[in-house]
């Protein structure tokens, strides 16, 4: 059984895309209210692994995920699991900001409304608090009913984070959330992640090692679908135990 210190953990998780064995026997524990960074060269399976955690790989034809994903005392990697409820409780933010072609307000209200919140006042509160948590409220409060597509890239990404927060998830999966953004927007997102840590368990995929070093508590280094090293972030970046890790973080490949 999962101890309560861990919000999520995987045991021997494998992902196959058709013949390709993309993620191999991964076992990682994610402590509550901490930030875990997944790093590694592109194609190492870090995003694939992340997308298994909220069962987004179900959408990909020919993808197969074996092994265990423990969440809230149960293994959720089986066909009878309530995937939608799982996704509500494990939110996800994508690499490219992907706001809906709707107003800012509707972007946030869409999820809660579907999950049963119909009261207008309650929705207004959710929209405001989600935008505040994502540090976007002051910038958009006067144009809530304007199109979300008119926002800047960085604002759009914070809107996407707010949209995820609107469902009050326990875990946030961030898939390279700042890779498409300029440095200022990136630092805003990083700041935000630091604040969100108090209330959420965060798992972030990043190809930016400085970013991993700045914001995470533990770091997992992936290579060719395998977990090479998992340790405290300080440890990994100062005294990596494996040669591959050292090569990667010192920039010798990747």
């Amino acid at each position: 059984m999962v101890s309560n210190e861990y919000a999520l953990k995987t045991n021997d998780l494998n992902v196959f895309y058709g013949e390709k064995h993309a993620v191999k026997q991964l076992s990682i524990d994610f402590p509550s209210h901490s930030v875990t960074a997944l790093i590694g060269p592109s194609g190492c399976g870090k995003s694939t692994y992340l997308r298994s955690l909220n069962r987004m790989n179900d959408l990909i034809e020919g993808a197969k995920v074996t092994g265990e994903i423990w969440f809230d005392g149960e293994n959720v990697n089986h066909s009878a699991a309530h995937v939608r409820l799982l996704r509500k409780r494990i939110g996800m933010v994508f690499q490219k900001p992907n706001p809906f072609y709707k107003s800012i307000y509707e972007n946030i209200a869409y999820g809660p409304r579907f999950h049963g919140v119909t009261n207008r006042k309650e929705l207004n509160e959710i929209v405001e608090s989600s935008l505040r948590k994502a540090a976007l409220w002051d910038e958009v409060k006067d144009r809530l009913h304007h199109s979300a597509l008119a926002l800047s890239g960085g604002q759009q990404q914070r809107l996407c984070i707010a949209r995820t927060l609107s469902l009050n998830p326990e875990i946030l999966l961030l898939d390279e959330p700042a890779s498409a953004l300029d440095p200022i927007s990136t630092s805003k997102i990083e700041e935000l992640i630091q604040q969100l840590k108090a209330n959420y368990t965060i798992i972030i995929v990043t190809h930016n090692m400085q970013q991993a070093a700045r914001i995470s508590d533990q770091t997992a280094f992936f290579l060719m679908g395998e977990l090479i090293e998992l340790n405290d972030t300080n440890q990994i970046f100062t005294k990596p135990t494996r040669k591959e890790t050292e090569d990667y973080i010192t920039g010798r490949f990747g």
Binding site: D72, G73, E74, V76, A80, A81, H82, L85, L86, R89
Partner: protein
Amino acid sequence: MSSPTKQHDSWWKEGVGKVLTTVSASILILTTLAIIYFIASKGLATFFSNGVSLVEFLIGTEWNPEGAPGQFGALPFILGSFIVTVGSALLAAPLGIGTAIFMTEISPRIGQKVMQPVIELLVGIPSVVYGFIGLSVLIPFLRNSFGGVGFSILAGILVLTVMILPTITSLSVDAVKRVPRDLKEASLALGATRWQTIWNIIVLRSSLPGLLMAIILGMARAFGEALAVQMVIGNTTAIPKSLLSPSNTLTSGITLNMGNTIPGSAYNNALWSMGLLLLIMTLIFILLIRWISKRGQA
């Protein structure tokens, strides 16, 4: 918080969409099967119930279904349909493809701004309008230039040519546009002239399947067109002696006689057999297009 696995989706929430859309999609299959079944059952009755010989129907030249005994040689209709189709394709294909190349390679500015919208508009013009213009402009012109009545195979070919030109042109434009830019640039960089590039790279290599498909779709449209042809071809059931003689096609035969024959009679059934021939030709055109597109991908 409830357990993540203990609740289940209600069937209604997720299943309803799949069921509704599956039903709509199956209607497409059902309609197609129904059309094939209905037309085939009526069309084959001529041979099975009325005892008309299939060979006579296909190659006989005498059409007198009301005679005693009735004669059911549909070759004049079949021949008429093929002649107008091939004739209009022979005229429209070079013109249409040439225009498409002009629009994409020689003067894209005029092509996009002026010709494209007009051609798109003309694709949508009802075929009766083409027939009516043929009747009121082309027929008098042919009568004055060549004598005779004017209603003729040639008139049918010309009306269909104008009618399928926009179709062939706009499909050819799509085909030529799909040729990768670097292929053309490479050819020009190697010192080939524009004409050599157009001929060798565009026409003969990259867009050949697309251009062939454009021609076949144009031919399918010409073969199946009823009213525009019927209005100008003269509707005489005899093997045409020249391009200027009046003739008939499968579609015009059906159009003119379906309403005047008694359902169930051999005459009426023979018209359904002509409909069945049209259906079979449609399937052949589709097979041809599929074959070309497969070869084009290989």
